[in-house]
């Protein structure tokens, strides 16, 4: 999932990665010895909200000890150790150092973090939440005396100073960012939703398109309709819009659908796959119900980025044809043989077990990449404490030709009122596994 950041990281003039390598051990942080359990819990929850684990915990390594590789065209960089180890981690960081790194992207030695660290979003974190997070990373996480492998970047791309300019241009002023997000809504639930989505949740890192400079076009709902309007293609998955577009956004998702999706990875309107799954697995499934509802309500205030998107309406003609065994439409025979057992002839699927294809925003996306990708590779839902069953979509690349997959994709995109454009064999051929 790290690779979802890569497309902007590869913008070589500006990008690299910070090794949090504390040079000084003298200013050891001073923290009260007795940490209240509630504060520790708040800090742990902040770490979940911010999905720190996604980047800073690699499989087979201790929690938060870094080591997640980012394979870039310019070399490989590794996420850092953020445990309280004084040599290898951030044990020497004072709370002020910590706050500056999280919210401003400046590490203890004054150098700039690579913006894979979403500090432009984290800038909004309140002092109280930063304090809790600091306490948690100093007293709730075990120090791990291990370093991630050294970054492998060659000069001049290894130079870090251009990042400072990037930061000057694009990182928000902390106070202003906090005020801006806080001022968006008077309703406390919506205000909480904005704080979570724009701040710790850093949803825009993937779901907001980036400009030429690879900065997110905007950080806030106020900043215009590009906010969360979909982030292009990452790891060969299309990052969808989270705004209210009727066909391609969340326009037909109810608040409870959004909550169920983030909490369990599955909703009657769709289930998680691809790069979103680890986000749910490490982070959103453990959000509190009230926070999830706040997020859902906030997202529902975001007006469509694409105006005049025609409303999706279920059209029964493909269903009726399939049910009277009329398989004359291209791809219909393949659909009946391979897909209908789970997704049904009416394309509506079965609740949270098999997602609907009729009206599913992923199917209706202009770019069919995600749909082709999942048909070729398949996917398995995560087993979560909130929903332990992991169901599978089989991959069909070994049993079906590119032409067959193009025909199935075309059928699905056309049937049940979907009426989206067709797909060519070449489109299928060009999508290869990101795994």
């Amino acid at each position: 999932m790290m690779q979802r950041y890569l497309s902007f990281l590869s913008f070589y003039t500006l990008i690299g990665w910070l090794a949090f390598s504390p040079a000084h051990a003298e200013d050891t942080p001073s923290i009260a010895h007795e940490v209240p359990a509630s504060l520790m819990e708040q800090g742990h929850y902040q770490a979940i909200l911010g999905d720190c684990m996604a980047c800073h915990s690699a499989p087979g390594r201790p929690a938060y000890s870094g080591g997640v590789p980012f394979a870039l065209p310019i070399g490989t960089i590794y996420a850092t150790n953020i445990t309280p180890d004084p040599i290898h981690g951030i044990g020497t960081y004072t709370e002020a150092d910590f706050a500056r790194a999280i919210r401003q992207g400046i590490r203890k030695d004054g150098r700039t973090l690579y913006p894979a660290m979403p500090y432009p979003s984290y800038a909004r974190l309140s002092d109280s939440d930063i304090h809790a997070l600091y306490v948690y990373f100093h007293h709730g996480v075990a120090p791990q005396p291990v370093s991630p492998p050294p970054n492998r970047l060659t000069w001049p791309l290894s130079m870090r100073w251009p990042l400072t300019f990037w930061r000057w241009f694009f990182a928000p002023n902390v106070t202003k960012a906090q005020q801006r997000t806080a001022a968006e809504f008077t309703d406390p639930v919506l205000a909480r939703g904005a704080y979570l989505v724009e701040g710790a949740g850093h949803c825009g890192a993937c779901h907001t398109p980036r400009g030429l400079t690879m900065a997110e076009k905007t950080q806030t709902a106020q900043g215009g309709s590009s906010f969360l309007s979909g982030g292009g293609v990452l790891e060969q998955w299309v990052v969808p819009s989270l705004r209210q577009e009727n066909r391609t956004g969340l326009g037909r998702w109810h608040e409870d659908d959004i909550v169920a999706f983030l909490k369990t990875g599955r909703a009657p309107t769709g289930v998680s796959f691809g790069s979103m799954t680890p986000v749910i697995e490490h982070s959103t499934h453990a959000y509190s119900d009230s926070d999830l509802h706040a997020i859902a309500r906030f997202l529902q205030t975001l007006t469509p980025a694409t105006l005049h998107e025609k409303e999706w309406q279920y059209d029964p003609s493909s269903r009726d044809a399939l049910q009277r065994a009329d398989l004359s439409e291209r791809g219909a025979q393949l659909y009946i043989d391979r897909c209908a057992a789970c997704h049904r002839t009416d394309g509506r699927g079965y609740g949270t077990v098999f997602p609907p294809l009729a009206g599913n925003p992923v199917v209706l996306s202009k770019d069919p990449t995600s749909l082709i990708h999942i048909i070729k590779e398949g996917d398995t839902m995560p087993s979560l404490s909130t929903a332990p069953s992991s169901f599978s979509m089989p991959g069909f690349k070994k049993t079906l030709s590119d032409q067959d997959i193009a025909d199935i994709t075309r059928f699905i995109r056309h049937a049940w009122g979907n009426n989206e454009s067709g797909v060519q064999k070449e489109d299928v051929k060009n999508i290869r596994s990101g795994k």
Partner: protein, 573 residues
């Protein structure tokens, strides 16, 4: 059971002789519904090359090994037979749990044949009701109630006992065949009902948070791992939650050789198993041992481990191997006119319409002279193409050529089958013991089965199957093939019948005639509990899984509430 014990805070390890199976992968469509790999090449069944059993009909014969799976199909791998079953999920008739007492009350002691070793379960329906209820909620069972909390509530089985709550899901739809059977039996004054099915009629989330998809009647239940996740199995309904528990460990490829006992032989200390990855013997220690190795192998392990005294039919002493039984299932077929399509490829393993008029306790057996009974049902479970081709046009029809083809097509499209799924009683000379000759791949004696059909059960089967004649007429059958057992016809292990094997280590009130007490605890080694249909003292007209699941939860409940607080015998012996 493992889920119950981890919930109680215990550290639980499961030793599984086969491979691990995550249905999300191995059960995925379309590979899971390959009939050649599935039913024909026995994908989910026991590998007889390492361990099997020997079979004979009579004590004076020499038993021979069961080398090819046929009559019954034990499972192997995570989920076991619970992964490849059909999904018929019954409770029990209350009097079936006290069949000996009820028979004597109504017909007198002489009604019981001399060689029949009939005895009561020593547990009542009312005691088990909460656990039937719990099992149905875990399994996501579809069905229609008749009586809930003493009030008639629906169009369910009028002979079914009272329930504390309705089925968690509405009944499965009738197939065309089942609807024909319903109409015909109704017309004849019988009492048809929708069979309770552990095939989900709707999407369902059980109390463990595990999800099921709804059944689409694809017909790949028995012998398959349901790709729609709609047939209840340990893999779908329990393990997704259980695997997340840090107190739980599953060791696949671990063939248990025996339970180890201390010197007193009164306490189990753990188990010895062969790790099939490296073929080394390994030992695991445990404070509490639960045998859940399937009926046959629970008995086998008790015999190999020296838990209890082996049964001796000559002296009628000992308990391990005693009261073994099977199921008297025969399948008859009706052909309907060619304008009525039964489409045998459609089906669901647990769905159908049944009548209990010849299974219910009030049905007077006096004039007919048999103990036991049999439901009749149309349980169209989906006939796969290879099976349809093998069956052709039925008994006595051509096996090749144009007539065979047209028969086969007619049979596939227009026929239906009706099962008489009857009880099988227990007899002094029907039992399990260790074979004196044959050994398994680990140099252990094979289990030996001594089994054949007895007149009581043949009489019952023949009587009940005979009742199909008016039903076939009422359904408008153009041709009827009634199949029933013949007197003196020995049990034939080469023909598939059912995997409903039972008894051999039974529960009861007397340690001299039962291996287990009413909580499924070994009388002899009280830190061993044995879960399986081996605990039933005799056969039932219903499929065993529902009662077996309820007994497992009943046993778990008493382990949790009583045994763990004070380990020892739960019933004084």
């Amino acid at each position: 059971m493992a889920k119950e014990l981890t919930e109680a805070g215990l550290s639980v390890t499961i030793l599984e002789r086969g491979e691990d199976r995550h249905t999300a992968e191995t059960g995925a469509y379309p590979n899971s519904i390959d009939e050649l790999r599935g039913s024909v090449r026995k994908r989910l069944f026991q590998k007889l090359s390492r361990n099997s059993l020997t079979i004979r009909n009579r004590i004076d014969q020499t038993a021979l090994p069961y080398r090819q799976l046929a009559a019954f199909l034990p499972g192997e791998g995570v989920g076991g037979a619970g992964l490849h079953w059909s999904g018929c999920h019954f409770r029990v008739m209350p009097d079936d749990l006290r069949l000996r007492s009820a028979t004597i009350e109504r017909y007198g002691k002489k009604f019981i044949p001399d060689d029949m070793t009939l005895q009561d379960f020593d547990v009542t329906y009312d005691e088990l009701e909460p656990f039937f209820d719990k099992a149905e909620k875990v399994f996501g069972t579809s069905g229609e109630a008749h009586m809930v909390q003493g009030k008639p509530t629906g169009n369910g089985n009028v002979f079914a006992p009272n329930r504390s709550s309705p089925f968690p899901l509405p009944p499965m739809e009738d197939t065309f065949s089942a609807a024909q059977f319903r109409a015909a039996t109704q017309e004849l004054g019988y009492h048809p009902y929708s069979m309770p099915a552990a095939n989900a009629s709707r999407p369902y989330t059980n109390p463990y948070g595990c999800q099921m998809g709804p059944c689409n009647f694809c017909g790949y239940c028995s012998g398959y791992d349901c790709f729609l996740y709609s047939k209840a199995s340990p893999n779908i309904n329990i393990l997704p939650a259980l695997r997340r528990d840090p107190g739980f460990t599953l060791v696949p490829q671990a063939q248990v050789l025996r339970i180890t006992l201390d010197q007193s032989k009164k306490r189990a200390t753990g188990a010895v198993y062969v790790d099939l990855n490296d073929h080394h013997e390994k030992t695991i220690s445990a404070d509490l041992v639960i045998l859940g190795a399937f009926q046959l192998y629970n008995v086998h392990l008790m015999l190999l481990s020296g838990i209890g005294t082996p049964y001796d039919p000559h002296t009628n002493t000992g308990t391990i191997g005693r009261n073994f039984f099977y199921q008297t299932i025969t399948t008859s077929r009706f052909w309907l006119p060619k304008n009525r399509y039964t489409n045998q490829f459609v089906g669901a393993g647990g769905a159908g319409v049944a009548i209990d008029d010849f299974n219910q306790p009030d049905f007077d057996r006096g004039p007919h002279g048999f103990i036991g009974g049999s439901p009749l049902w149309v349980n169209q479970a989906g006939v796969k193409p290879i099976a349809a081709a093998s069956a052709g046009g039925g008994k006595g029809r051509p096996r090749w050529g144009a007539q065979y083809k047209s028969d086969m097509i007619e049979t596939y499209k227009h026929s239906l089958s009706v099962d008489a799924h009857g009880s099988n009683m227990t007899y002094r000379d029907v039992y399990l013991d260790l074979d004196p000759t044959w050994t398994n791949a680990y140099d252990q004696p094979l289990l030996r089965m001594t089994f054949t059909w007895k007149d009581n059960d043949v009489r019952m089967n023949r009587y009940v199957v005979d009742q199909l004649k008016p039903i076939a007429r009422a359904m408008g059958a153009t041709r009827t093939e009634l199949n029933m057992l013949d007197y003196n016809q020995p049990f034939d292990s080469r023909l598939y019948q059912t995997t409903h094997l039972g008894g051999g280590a039974i529960m009861g009130s007397n340690p001299r005639t039962s291996a287990l007490n009413r909580y499924l605890q070994s009388w002899d080694v009280p830190n061993v509990f044995v879960i399986g249909a081996n605990a039933f003292p005799h056969g039932l007209g219903y499929n065993p899984t529902g009662l077996l699941a309820a007994l497992a939860y009943w046993s778990a409940h008493h382990i949790r509430t009583t045994y763990l607080k004070s380990p020892g015998p739960l019933v004084p012996s």
